[in-house]
């Protein structure tokens, strides 16, 4: 029953969840994120919306796919992990879904006594939050790895340059030795 209600209200849940998420940005930014629809002029909007829609669809399923959940969470979190948010600010959007469901379906839930399925659903949202934490940490670790990777590449390039010089010096020495032998 709750699942049917959620399916019927999918679009307004997506819309409200997306809206709440956009409100975590400064006003000028959220205006832009709402207005510009071109996916390449406004990749943040496009990618986050894809993530929100995907997560909604997964949560509506009886058995969500962990891979799909992670992939949709990654879309949103990969962006928020590098933006100017604390970890809690970056991930708060997951909990917004609870607020949205209560707002959109509160009346129907009360009327139809759907408290138990709601509790189950909220537990699944909590699970999603735990997943979100893992995804966030994964992204942050990637940033550190990129940083280390860059330093390593520079170091490697310097070593290679040194090797090239050593090789050249060796070649010069060999040449000198050959020519002095020839002179003898």
């Amino acid at each position: 029953m709750l699942r049917d209600l959620l399916s019927r209200k999918r679009s307004s849940i997506v819309e409200k969840w997306f809206d709440l998420l956009l409100e975590t940005y400064p006003e000028d930014t959220s205006k832009f994120l709402r207005r510009e629809k071109d996916p390449f002029a406004n990749p943040v909007r496009n990618t986050i919306l894809q993530g929100i829609e995907g997560l909604c669809d997964e949560i509506l399923k009886e058995d969500e796919s962990p891979e799909a959940l992670n992939a949709f969470l990654d879309k949103i979190i990969r962006i928020r992990a590098v933006q100017d948010f604390s970890p809690s600010q970056a991930l708060a959007f997951v909990f917004f879904l609870k607020t949205v469901i209560r707002d959109v379906l509160g009346k129907e839930i009360r009327e139809n006594h759907l408290h138990e399925p709601l509790l189950l659903l909220e537990s699944r949202i909590d699970e999603m939050a735990l997943r979100a934490f893992d995804v966030y940490m994964g992204c942050r670790e990637e940033i550190y790895e990129l940083r280390v990777g860059e330093v390593k590449r520079q170091r490697e390039a310097a070593f290679r340059m040194l090797e090239r010089s050593e090789r050249a010096a060796k070649k010069r020495l060999e040449k000198q030795e050959t020519s002095s032998r020839d002179a003898d």
């Binding site: 990637e142 090239r164 010089s165």
Partner: protein, 541 residues
């Protein structure tokens, strides 16, 4: 559970506020969070260049150890530049805040920080201009959009003007033609006056001044490196290519960014140049004095641009060449195309560039006497002067990232594409509003491509990464070609984060792969030393 209990909203139970504070833009306070700014320039580099206020400090320190008269110095510097550079005065006055540029900056798009809107970034300086240099501002102050220059404002300048890559995408959309990059350049000049500079932008300048290139590579090491690449080419092709260095009386002086002989994948592009010039029998020379095409002076001050850039003409004169050819570099071309002629010209001792192979006159380079390698190679291809086997690049599915400066500051749009289409069969464009004049920056240009700034680079790199990811998903693109040494370094982590699986390449690396040389042995290896057949196998995996 009662309905009342249901009214408890979960966020009320959470002990944090997820709404970021909505600050007024006039509030200058910035938090220097690690990962989002570049470290200060080492005092030894300032000392070497004779720049003011060398000292140990970091942006996250409370005390920036500014000179006591710092405010006066900045305002005097501003006054001086307003009178010297008409464009600066104009750019301060004519902006009507229409907002056309607002959502065009890759840092704004990726970060969502409103102060990365070019109009607002410029406003950080304009507000001080209004306060101290306009009648309305002097009388009305804040009401007229004026702000007093305080230490907080100076720190804010540092944070945001070293967060602009001077890519000039915003300028493309400005109806008044305001070049916002030049506002950043002015801000950085002023910051330099009180010793607020960043090491990644300044150390290359000091090195370049001393040894001729960013990395401080000395002439013998430069020669050793080129000889090494000569040997590598011999291993791959069986041909020992010519390697003229400091050759007096050569027709052409060839200048590249030092990244090309320092680090992969630039080195593969350099091997491509060597093979090409050998194959066509070009009478040219490398130089150990003009061993740097890049010019990080551009990211500090016009005075430093001029100092470093002078070496190219001086060397051309010393060696007695006819004209100059330049490699795959980004901001070098902004300097060459927009400043070299007036700063260090006229180069009346050089000839108007003519390709000795095709007879083509490069009329666009009539004044600077310096030709872009992609124009030169495209011309060779158009005249069928090269034998090419594009199937050697068959395992590569290539897209092209227009490097900001060659595209927007010079109009090099078609040539690299023409070259790529001739040397590989699988070429796919990214969406229209992410390429050519509208190209998105790598977010590591203008001296910001350092590891400590990685988080900020990933923010700014998002729009480019998103477009690369799109062609990766749609066309299985696995190579991102570009014609800039900074790109070849900074796009690597960018694609690792936003479009993992894509590798970065220079255009002339692919030319080197496809070039069929007279008398070459059967080619089994790519420029990278990968077996060509195995590269093909990769595609089936």
């Amino acid at each position: 559970m009662s309905s009342e209990e249901l009214d408890i909203k979960p966020e009320e139970l959470l002990d944090f506020d997820y709404d970021p504070p909505q600050k007024d833009w006039m509030d200058p306070s910035v938090a220097f969070r690690k990962g989002t700014y570049c470290y200060s320039a080492a005092p030894k580099n300032l000392e070497y260049l004779g720049l003011p206020n060398p000292r140990d400090w970091q942006p996250h320190d409370k005390d920036w150890k500014l000179p006591p008269d710092w405010k006066e110095t900045i305002l005097d510097g501003m006054k001086d530049r307003l009178s010297k550079f008409r464009s600066f005065q104009l750019f301060m006055d004519i902006c009507v805040r229409c907002g056309a540029c607002a959502d065009k900056c890759h840092f704004f798009i990726g970060s969502g920080d409103p102060k990365n809107m070019p109009v607002l970034r410029a406003e950080l300086m304009r507000s001080v201009y209004r306060n101290d240099f306009t009648a309305a501002g002097k009388i009305l102050g804040k009401l007229a959009g004026g702000r007093e220059l305080t230490e907080e404002v100076l720190k804010e300048w540092f944070y945001y003007f070293y967060q602009c890559t001077e890519c000039r995408r915003c300028s493309v959309f400005c109806p008044y033609g305001i070049d916002t990059a030049e506002i950043t350049m002015m801000a950085r000049e002023l910051l330099n006056l009180v010793g607020c500079n960043i090491n990644w932008a300044l150390e290359p300048v000091a090195n370049c001044q001393r040894t001729g290139n960013h990395l401080g590579i000395q002439p013998h090491t430069f020669k050793d490196s080129l000889e090494f690449f000569q040997d590598e080419i011999e291993d791959i092709t069986g041909i020992k290519v010519n390697l003229p260095i400091n050759k007096k009386g050569a027709d052409v002086l060839f200048v590249v960014p030092s990244g090309d002989y320092f680090a992969d994948p630039g080195t593969f592009t350099l091997m491509g140049y060597l093979m090409l010039f050998h194959e066509i029998g070009l009478d040219y020379t490398w130089s150990t004095y003009a061993s740097e095409g890049g010019n990080f002076g551009l990211f500090n001050s016009h005075e430093l641009i001029k100092r470093l850039n002078a070496k190219i003409y001086l060397e051309a004169k010393r060696l007695g060449v006819k004209w100059i050819l330049g490699g795959e570099c980004g901001h070098m071309w902004r300097v060459v195309n927009q400043y070299m002629d007036t700063m260090n010209g006229p180069a009346d001792f050089l000839e108007e560039p003519v390709s000795p192979i095709t007879g083509t006159k490069f009329e666009n380079a009539k004044s600077t006497k310096m030709v872009h390698i992609c124009e030169f190679t495209a011309d060779l291809m158009q005249h069928n002067k090269l034998k090419l086997d594009p199937s050697r690049n068959d395992s590569l599915r290539v897209t092209f990232h227009d490097s900001c400066n060659p595209s927007r500051a010079m109009g090099i749009l078609e040539e690299p594409r023409y070259v790529l289409r001739n040397v590989c069969k699988h070429f796919y464009e990214m969406p229209e509003n992410t390429i050519r004049e509208q190209t998105y920056c790598c977010a590591g240009g203008a001296g910001l491509g350092t590891d400590e700034n990685m988080e900020m680079r990933m923010r700014g790199g998002l729009p480019r990464g998103n477009a690369v990811r799109h062609v990766q998903m749609k066309h299985d693109v696995n190579r991102l070609a570009c014609i800039c040494a900074i790109d070849r370094a900074t796009l690597i982590p960018l694609v690792d984060y936003w479009a993992p699986g894509v590798e970065v390449t220079g255009v002339h690396e692919l030319v080197g792969n496809a070039l069929v040389m007279k008398g070459e042995k059967e080619r089994e290896l790519s420029m990278r030393g990968d077996p060509l057949n195995e590269m093909e196998d990769d595609e089936d995996v």
